[in-house]
């Protein structure tokens, strides 16, 4: 049965690695729902967060292939339940629409969103949350015509009390030492 999985990859920050990672999905005709890459807490190590809707068997196998990539340090997967995750969305509405009625203000307040910038022409609203939540806000604001809308890829963090990466790197260094 297909469900949403979050794949997390820690890798060296090397040119072309994004391509080397995504071809593993392309080759198996697996669609990436969202992808976020940024530097992790440790300098020089990138963290990929990839969301896809797939069967666990296929996810498990692709994660093993990802771990095989020379520049990948570690790859693992979780279900949504096992992680805390967020996405961020930005909405641009006409500033005039805010003047005409107090509805937008109420929507923003209720959604726990915030206003980032107000100009004469437009107002930019920001909301973080799960996709359903940012989507719901979009639909509500769209009654007043959303001029522009953008949603980020997902970022996710495990429910473990600590970041495993530094521990993992220590283990890896010890392992490599022992190889000599």
């Amino acid at each position: 049965m297909k469900q949403e999985f979050i794949i997390t990859i820690f890798s060296e920050n090397h040119i072309g690695l994004l391509n080397r990672i995504t071809i593993n999905f392309t080759r198996r005709k697996m669609n990436i729902e969202s992808l976020t890459v940024s530097e992790s807490a440790i300098k020089g190590i990138s963290k990929f967060t990839i969301v896809l809707n797939e069967t666990e068997d296929r996810v498990k196998k692709v994660v093993r292939q990802l771990e095989k990539v020379v520049d990948v340090l570690k790859a693992f997967y979780h279900t949504n339940d096992e992680m805390i995750y967020q996405e961020i969305a930005l909405y641009k509405v006409r500033t005039e629409a805010l003047y005409e009625t107090d509805k937008i203000e109420k929507i923003v307040r209720k959604a726990g969103a915030r206003i980032l910038e107000i100009t004469r022409e437009y107002t930019v609203i920001e909301k973080t949350g799960h996709k359903e939540e940012t989507q719901e806000l979009f639909e509500q604001l769209n009654e007043f015509k959303v001029m522009q809308f953008i949603r980020s890829g997902r970022v996710a963090i495990t429910r473990d009390p600590i970041e495993r990466l530094s521990e993992f790197l220590k283990e890896r260094d010890a392992f490599l030492e022992a190889m000599d």
């Binding site: 072309g16 071809i23 080759r27 093993r64 095989k68 020379v70 990948v72 340090l73």
Partner: protein, 565 residues
């Protein structure tokens, strides 16, 4: 260590020498000319083989790597030079062959400008390399080459590619070489877990009908002796995959033959009767398993494997022993009880009797008119005292040669397994001969595959390589024709060839040869070929519509193997 200023190109050559490279296969061109210029001064230290096409260079490098176990090295220029390597790189990737490919690239300021002979080689080769990297400054060269050799040759080997921009080849650097011994993000092999070994040993000691399947992993790990020791202690019958061939001598009493689609009857049928499968250094390819859902359902599965991604990929294992096969087999042998499985082994011999009667005798000792591929293979094997290196192309002749050629030593089978690359044999044979100068290299090729890379006859002749080629000519793309006969109502869609005079062509290249069409000429023809001083081609005209049996039809279970049409 003292350093001196040298160019990036010289650094390439010196780095290769540091890695012990003695042979390079390649083809020059604009973007790699500085490297070729540097090479000019090193002709005493390294042999460069100029092939006639980059595909020839890469398959030659594969053949060299297969018989030596060392990385094959290949040079090509940018653009078409590099793209011509791709088929061979893909072949090496799927067959785990260590290669280091070095391609020239346009000068770095021109990258991405559609410059002359520019192509995105790093992008194109990414899905078919274990690792690749573009070098745009000379300083990176020694470290990148050191990394390339380490990655290509360690763990599960594979091809790597370095794309070197032309300006980096000209830049001057202080040369200082350090071999790469580890990479933080890369674990080539995991230490063998003794608990897993114990768990595997318990299953092995309890099994009544155990069957061992070995693949190329045994050869890559140099674990032939460990494999032999294990089967001899346990008495377990052992069958091989196409690429595992030659790891265990053919006449070893526990070698029960080949697995898979055109493998032997016993190993296929008995896979589904076994209560334990011990898979060593193999990956359960679909040509081995047939229909996966009805594969070895009565058996527990033990998998000894260096690549964690192979565990449970196709067949769910009960005990997976990660690590180098040489170490895991040794530990396993120490942990199992001495045993024998005489009556179980006898069942394989009973199957052999059936297969001999229905298939093999007719193939290798035919009485009907018209030559068979099987008899040519049998005689060639006998005439070389089962001691030659066998190189095959892809198709019917490949299956027949793998079935009937016999082996007494390992690293003696050179073939394109996973990718099934027609045109592989002729260039691979020249590479194999360079890697094993004192051995006889017997090459079987079909009339189809021969015409894909026959230009490499020129390379063979120019370098005086005594390669022996047996061209099995049935005037058809035989394996496709066989499938058309069996599964497409004999609709022979574009499989019949109008062939040239192969011997005249070969002689045009300066290679001696002879054509045989009759049985009473065959043995003599092969004898003359083997005795000939230098390269030689023997064309054997075989029956046009012979089929390879046994056969596990696509989508069928291994136990549904058929012995005749």
């Amino acid at each position: 260590m003292a350093t001196k200023k040298i160019t990036g190109s010289e650094a390439v050559i010196l780095s290769l020498l540091e890695e012990g490279v003695d042979t390079i296969f390649g083809y020059p061109g604009g973007a790699i000319m500085p490297v070729y210029d540097a090479l000019y001064d090193f002709d005493q230290k390294v042999t460069h083989i100029l092939t006639r096409h980059e595909q020839g260079a890469i398959h030659a490098a594969e053949g060299y790597a297969k018989v030596t176990g060392k990385a094959g090295v290949c040079f090509a220029t940018s653009g078409p030079g590099a793209t011509n390597l791709i088929t061979g790189i893909a072949d090496a990737m799927i067959d785990s062959i260590p290669l280091v490919c070095i391609t020239g690239q346009v000068a770095s300021p021109l990258l991405g400008t559609d410059a002359f002979q520019e192509s995105d080689v790093v992008g194109i080769s990414m899905p078919v390399t274990k690792w690749n990297y573009q070098i745009t400054c000379a300083e990176e060269i020694p470290e990148a080459i050191a990394k390339a050799f380490y990655i290509a040759q360690s763990g599960r080997p594979g091809p790597v590619l370095l794309d070197i921009a032309k300006d980096a080849q000209f830049q001057e650097i202080d040369f200082n070489y350090k071999k790469c011994k580890k990479i933080r993000s890369y674990i080539p092999e995991h230490p063998v877990d003794p608990f897993k070994v114990k768990a595997a040993a318990e299953l092995i000691d309890r099994a009544k009908k155990p069957l061992l399947l070995f693949g190329q992993g045994v050869i890559i790990a140099n674990a032939e002796e460990e494999l032999k020791a294990f089967v001899e202690k346990t008495g377990i019958p052992a069958a091989w995959t196409l690429l595992g061939l030659s790891a265990l001598p053919t006449d070893h009493p526990l070698n029960i033959g080949m697995l898979g689609m055109h493998g032997n009857y016993g190993p296929n049928i008995k896979t589904n009767e076994a209560d334990l499968i011990i898979a060593v250094g193999m990956r359960f390819d679909d040509r081995v398993t047939g229909k996966v859902s009805s594969y070895a359902n009565g058996a527990k599965i033990i998998h000894l494997e260096v690549d964690p991604a192979e565990i449970d990929k196709i067949i769910k294992t009960d005990v997976a022993v990660l690590g180098d096969a040489k170490k895991s087999l040794k530990m396993l042998t120490d942990n199992v009880n001495e045993n024998s499985h005489e009556s179980w082994l006898q069942e394989f011999h009973d199957c052999d009797a059936i297969e001999n009667d229905k298939v093999i005798n007719k193939d290798i000792y035919p009485s009907q008119e018209g030559l068979t591929m099987g008899e040519a293979v049998r005689i060639a094997s006998e005439k070389t005292r089962h001691n030659a290196i066998l190189v095959t192309d892809v198709g019917q002749h490949q299956m027949v040669a793998s079935r009937y050629f016999k082996f007494t030593q390992s690293k003696s089978n050179v073939t394109s397994g996973g990718l099934g690359t027609m045109g592989y044999a002729i260039p691979a044979a020249l590479g194999a001969q360079l890697g094993a100068k004192n051995r006889t290299v017997v090459t079987f090729v079909g009339d189809g595959g021969f015409q894909m890379t026959l230009q490499e006859l020129g390379t063979i002749v120019q370098n005086k390589l005594p390669v022996k080629i047996i061209l099995l000519n049935n005037n058809f793309l035989g394996m496709v024709r066989q499938w058309q006969q069996l599964f497409f109502d004999k609709r022979y869609s574009f499989t019949e060839l109008q062939n040239p005079d192969f011997i005249a062509i070969s002689k045009g290249f300066g290679m001696d040869g002879h054509k045989v069409t009759k049985r009473d000429e065959l043995e003599d023809g092969i004898q003359k070929m083997i005795e000939h001083d230098g390269p030689y081609i023997l064309e054997v005209v075989v029956q046009k519509e012979d089929n390879v049996f046994p056969m596990v039809p696509t989508g069928a279970s291994v136990s549904d193997i058929i012995l005749e049409a």
